[in-house]
Subunit: 485 residues, 2 copies
């Protein structure tokens, strides 16, 4: 039991120091490690498995909605990036530049892609000639580099992995519909697969993507009361198509600029799962994206456990694996069952099955839920459906808990003084009205560090209008404020 105590002592409690807990649990659970380059991380197998599960489930949705994957170069010539001043200005402080190839200095610097609108736009101008070529619905899974000053594993790293969709359409309406379709796809994905309830809406002019007509996003509340942007969908209008000359002949033989969208989610989602569901003991993975859904711990009591308990544990692992459950049998020697319990709790495995000599006699196993710590014996007969049903319940419960947390931490306030004290003392979302002026937006950010996370779309507004929390002027922009990552 010495080892167990050491392990538990080593993790800072989440309630004590959230930020330390976050980085500690990520390293101790072996999701990621720091790399020998400032701001970069190594995604270790246990963390990468989460990303693979996310990829698989997201890729399925992207393809089912008619998109195809492709791959574009990660280097973008400076002249191409410069074509769009607003876009370049938005990204240029964050661009890593390649200046030498082998022993030669390059004639032109190459940007390591901070996003791919420019390179993809230049190709679309070659491929799109007629309305018959539209829509173009392409997605890419790729690595991205943004030179960040302050970094944190998964949430903000110099290099990260993402998917970026880039589409082109024959009409503004189609482009807009695509943007909103993807926004809804992201919302449904976050809620179904990650068990994270999100709010969706528009970004303000100040917060939108450099070059977009409109940026939509999904935002979630982390358990420290800070908000996290989990995905964005941009209606690019004809902005980039005019810059990169993406023109098509419409049905009336008129030349038109294409309407475009772009949208993405990244490895940041792994950080979201950690922060939305974790507790003092460590991670709590939603079963649908958990690297391991079930861990089987044989109770190594008595001298003959290898003859009695182990074969039953092995058989149970095999049965579950064949039923499509991601299961691990932890039959390591030299570690007590108790040590293994706390190890796998810390690493967030949704369900633990204990099998001891008495269980073998009774043809049972003791199931322990990570989310509630509830224990219940399960018959070893017909085990897979019982396990699947428990995993479904855990998935639902994590979502319900996160939703409850968000509701408990979404505040309505009377005036700006109360706004300030709520943000400072209680964090969470503040749902209120805003006049739409950048003066108020900037003042609130400066004074409280809170930003407008979303401006609700008309259908989502719970009131038609209200007075701006800062200046008091009547406005129709119902918004969510929060301090954010």
């Amino acid at each position: 039991m010495v080892k167990k105590e050491r392990l538990v002592k080593n993790i800072t409690a989440k309630s004590e120091d959230f930020s330390r807990w976050y980085t500690e649990v990520i390293r101790k659970a072996e999701l990621a490690d720091y790399a020998p380059i400032k701001g970069m991380m190594v995604i270790r197998p246990y963390g990468y498995a989460v990303w693979e599960n996310i990829q698989k489930l997201m890729d399925k949705r992207i393809k089912e909605t008619g998109h195809e994957n492709a791959y574009f170069p990660m280097f973008i010539p400076e002249s191409l990036l410069e074509k769009e001043a607003e876009h370049l200005e938005g990204f240029s402080p964050e661009v890593a530049w390649v200046t030498h190839g082998g022993n030669d200095e390059l004639e032109e610097r190459l940007a390591v892609r901070p996003t791919s609108e420019a390179i993809i736009g230049s190709m679309y101008s070659k491929w799109i000639k007629s309305y018959r070529d539209l829509p173009v619905l392409i997605n890419q899974w790729a690595n991205i580099v943004r030179w960040e000053k302050v970094t944190r594993p998964f949430l903000r790293t110099t290099e990260f992995l993402w998917q970026e969709g880039h589409t082109a359409h024959a009409t503004a309406e189609e482009g807009q519909a695509e943007t909103l379709k993807i926004l809804d796809l992201y919302r449904e994905f976050a809620e179904t697969e990650l068990a994270i309830p999100v709010i969706s809406g528009e970004k303000t002019e100040k917060e939108k993507f450099a070059g977009a007509e409109m940026t939509y996003c999904i935002e979630a509340l982390m358990t420290d009361g800070k908000a996290l942007q989990m995905g964005t969908s941009h209606d690019l209008g004809q902005h980039f198509s005019k810059v990169f000359n993406i023109r098509f002949e419409d049905q009336d033989q008129q030349l038109q600029y294409a309407w475009q969208t772009s949208w993405g989610v990244s490895t940041r989602l792994v950080g979201a799962v950690v922060m939305a569901h974790g507790d003092d003991s460590g991670l709590r993975f939603p079963p649908r994206i958990a690297p391991l859904q079930v861990v089987i711990v044989p109770i190594t009591i008595g001298e003959d456990w290898k003859e009695t308990v182990l074969p039953v544990a092995q058989n149970t692992a095999r049965i579950l694996s064949e039923a499509g459950v991601r299961v691990k049998l932890d039959d390591r020697e030299g570690f007590t069952p108790g040590w293994k319990f706390s190890e796998w709790e810390m690493r967030g495995v949704p369900l633990r099955l204990e099998i001891g000599p008495r269980d073998v006699k009774n043809h049972k196993t003791l199931a322990v839920r990570r989310d509630t710590r509830e224990k219940q014996p399960l018959s070893l007969d017909n085990l897979a459906p019982q396990v699947q049903s428990l995993l479904d319940k855990i998935q639902q419960n994590l979502f319900d808990q996160a939703l409850q947390f968000r509701e408990d931490n979404t505040h309505e306030v009377e005036d700006y003084e109360e706004f300030k004290s709520v943000i400072e003392e209680r964090r969470g979302f503040i749902k209120t009205f805003w006049c739409g002026g950048s003066e108020c937006e900037n003042r609130i950010k400066e004074e409280t560090m809170a930003t407008i996370r979303v401006v609700l779309m008309e259908a989502d507004r719970t009131e038609a209008s209200g007075s701006c929390i800062c200046c008091g002027e009547q406005g129709r922009k119902q918004v969510y404020f929060a301090r954010a990552y």
Copy 2:
């Protein structure tokens, strides 16, 4: 029919100019396009789908043999790369260097990974402490940059996609066994999934990976008689573990350096498929990795084809899709069936199903194989198993044809004069003996442009010894020579 003629005219015949045929078919079939950066390409959806199929089938094998995926940073500090002189020297003419992040010059240049031994080695030295931590079996799917002077789509591009396995073991024997296990996995993969027969063996000292004890590879013969290296597996011994200080305490509490391996295949495999199976009319995809396995072309004769033929074609597409066949119904208007036939032939779809008014009456479809152009009517009853059986036959036939081609083009020669004339006039492999001296190896390369593709392993030798084709000295190195990509 104007369009059909134009299409066919536009492709250079393979037999006429192989190199032009290759680049033309890749662009016209929309596998890839040139990017606005020298030596880089865009992998278009039709080409990327081939890579996705390769990834999926390869990833399964990599995981089934106990490996896990992870992700390491793509930037490697110059000082880390410099730690291993031989390795740096091998790659330094090909390294792209990042010198600026945002507006600031970096204190240390960062290499864009030309391969990941250095960055992964530096992490393994942190993770590996005890024999209990071994083996470490990690694979990564990533993009790689090598500044190439002469490039060709898929075969050699400045940026390419690959998987790279990096493992660490407690003994030399284990490392060696891993290297050979992967070599065999690659061979089986190439033959089963890509329908490309390969020879496997060792590289010579001159051709081996910078820093490896021994490099093994698989090599195939392309239909122009040149060889292509399709995958490599390196036994790294303790070379990198000594440089990066990857040490573990063994069971006797002694500190030991770990034994390592690394291995990879890349998007080059897509080029291999093109060159191994294509013909004068274009691509011929092996069904197991084809983006589309079946194309259904409705015969648009008569005014009522939309009421009669189209619903049957749609239903057929649905049935095949539900049975797991990658199928496309080409119901575009404004293109004749004949134009569609040659379009999908050029794009290499293994099987075409034609459905016309008469077929609908007879409840049949005409199946046309891409590999042999054989036609046979199939009943629309129970169609999926018939289609699957034809696809299996096509897969096997493509392999058989490639094997026959290789056998017909593997030459044994009497002397060096015959060697020279065979290489010049007939190409293909020359199977012979080599003394093992670099003088002969270099002279042959200079005089004939042929290199030693593999040195056969003992079990694969067909003769125990022979005289060197160059100097005549007796030797035990039975080798395959060829001009290569």
